[in-house]
């Protein structure tokens, strides 16, 4: 496989790593292979100018081996991937692995830079485009991520790349973008993204009604029955659970420490904030008053119907930054919106139960819930 430069060699073999003897044997075999190539006592594989075979494939395997969680040694991993890149400097896969190594080092900035180098090597590949955008989001560089994703969205969409990603219900992006904003303390924007995911699941539930008559008319009974079953467990999807858990965490944060500026302020209470708090509060009050005036002026304009290039009608979002979501006066009630389906459809998730406890204990509902449940039995 190394002779042929099969890119998935490590992926095909890593399932053997649960056995410690195999875990130690495999890299040794590859090292022997590299030594053999170096001494050149045997005939080298025919490469026909293809440098991704032989030694570079072996270095690539070792880099992946030392990057894998069961055999991690990141310094060795970076050493091997650099050797592989010396032989094959234009390999997208090698760059991607190097970015992953930096991610495991805990340096998302460097990782995103290297993933971007990989993307530039093949700008027409959607997979690497997505990866680069994700790495930018993990580095909290939301603007750069949108810019890159914009290369694959419809340019004529009203509202740009972000609006198109919403239209396409691009859930991985919404989740990562929300988590990134949450890390930055921009709770409004983060809640906006998680609420969008909640709404997408609502849309799916609503959309099923179109298929009842359609499936029966077409006689696709099996597909219809499958759809009925899918509907029953729609919200046990990991995308929903992930967004719901993140949203609940944010609402708990808002409950424990209401935002001083009521919008996308930092949730953290650092000493610098304490010094600046009065200033910021004053500024925020002014901004809030200004926003209120603008909102009043645009009242008739809000939810106004706009048309995109295809003539399709769209509703204008009157709270694009999630200011209203973050300014909630009842964060625990809002958290319940996410918690109820979570507990109903993912009862075996310990994270869901832990989140449930956190919400109920703050609502002082330690008796009623269990009492009702027990009396029903």
């Amino acid at each position: 496989m190394l002779d042929k430069g099969v890119p998935s060699t490590f992926a095909n073999l890593k399932h053997l790593y649960t056995d410690t003897s195999k875990l130690t044997t495999l890299p040794k075999l590859v090292e022997v292979y590299i030594e053999r190539l170096a001494t050149s006592t045997v005939e080298l594989p025919k490469q026909n100018g293809d440098t991704s075979k032989g030694a570079s494939a072996a270095f690539y395997f070792l880099a992946q081996h030392y990057n894998y969680y069961l055999s991690r040694d990141l310094d060795k991993a970076i050493e091997y991937i650099d050797k592989a890149l010396e032989l094959e400097p234009n390999s997208v896969d090698f760059h991607m692995t190097k970015a992953r190594i930096w991610k495991h080092y805990g340096d998302p900035k460097k990782a995103s830079e290297i993933m971007e180098q990989a993307r530039v090597l093949d700008t027409r590949d959607r997979h690497i485009n997505t990866k680069a955008a994700k790495y930018f989001l993990r580095n909290d560089d939301n603007e750069a991520a949108i810019k890159i994703l914009g290369l694959f969205t419809r340019p004529e969409t009203v509202g740009g790349a972000l609006a198109d990603l919403h239209d396409m219900q691009c859930m991985w992006f919404l989740t990562e973008d929300g988590k990134s904003y949450a890390r930055q303390g921009k709770l409004g924007l983060a809640l906006k993204r998680f609420t969008t995911i909640y709404n997408i699941f609502d849309v799916w539930q609503e959309d099923q009604f179109d298929f009842h008559s359609f499936s029966l008319r077409k006689g696709q009974i099996r597909a219809y029955v499958e759809m009925i079953r899918w509907e029953d467990r729609l919200r046990d999807h990991p995308f929903f659970s992930g967004a719901a858990l993140s949203a609940i965490e944010l609402y708990l944060k808002i409950h424990d420490k209401p935002l001083s500026n009521g919008m996308n302020g930092t949730g953290e209470d650092t000493p610098e904030d304490a010094v600046e708090r009065k200033k910021a509060a004053k500024k925020a009050r002014k901004e809030a008053q200004k926003a209120e005036r603008e909102a009043l002026a645009k009242k008739n304009e809000a939810n106004k119907v706009v048309k995109d290039a295809d003539g399709e009608t769209k509703k204008k979002d009157d709270d694009p930054d999630g200011v209203k979501l973050a300014a909630t006066t009842e964060p625990l009630t809002d958290a319940m919106k996410f918690l109820n389906p979570l507990l109903q459809f993912s009862p075996k998730s310990i994270d869901a139960q832990i989140a449930g406890f956190e919400v109920y204990i703050r609502r002082s509902k330690f008796s009623n819930n269990c009492f009702l449940n027990i009396t029903k039995l």
Binding site: I350, F366, N369, I374
Partner: protein, 152 residues
């Protein structure tokens, strides 16, 4: 309680479950008098996650001594110790900061420790950061706040 019992049934050893058991007991003791008698009776009969006799602090110390090799469980027990005895805050913070010296500590566990100290606004944060950054020199998260702000 329903969530707590469900979580305990799923994984009784989960560090968060230990923390929540103690918090639930404290909440019940505090607000128990305001509860209707029927509810209090149900809670008493259903909430069996704590030993019937003995102090909460003993329960916590027992938990800690049994799982002292696990960083996550130790963090949970130290959080509970701080909750039960606010006077011990500085000692608890020092104990959390000491965890970074454990040879078996993982990157994720180190991040949890930092998060905990930051949430307590502990004075140990900077020393913890420097110890962690010597262990993981390339990790941005353990860089001193001043440095990371300058870089950005």
């Amino acid at each position: 309680m329903k969530c707590l019992l469900a979580a305990a049934a799923l994984d009784n050893e989960h560090p968060k479950v230990h923390e929540q058991i103690v918090r639930f007991k404290l909440a019940i003791d505090e607000d128990g008098k305001a509860l209707p008698a029927q509810s209090a009776e149900v809670i008493k009969s259903e909430f069996t996650l704590l030993p019937s006799s003995g102090k909460l602090s003993d329960f916590n110390e027992d938990y800690l001594s049994k799982r002292k090799d696990s960083v996550k469980h130790t963090l949970s027990a130290l959080t509970v110790r701080r909750l039960l005895s606010p006077a011990s805050t500085s000692d608890v913070e020092k104990s959390v900061a000491e965890l970074i010296k454990k040879p078996s500590i993982t990157f994720e566990e180190a991040k949890d420790g930092l998060k905990l100290l930051e949430s307590w606004k502990s004075g140990e944060v900077e020393s913890y950061r420097s110890s962690a950054s010597s262990k993981w020199p390339k990790a941005q998260i353990f860089e001193s706040k001043d440095i990371s702000l300058a870089v950005r």
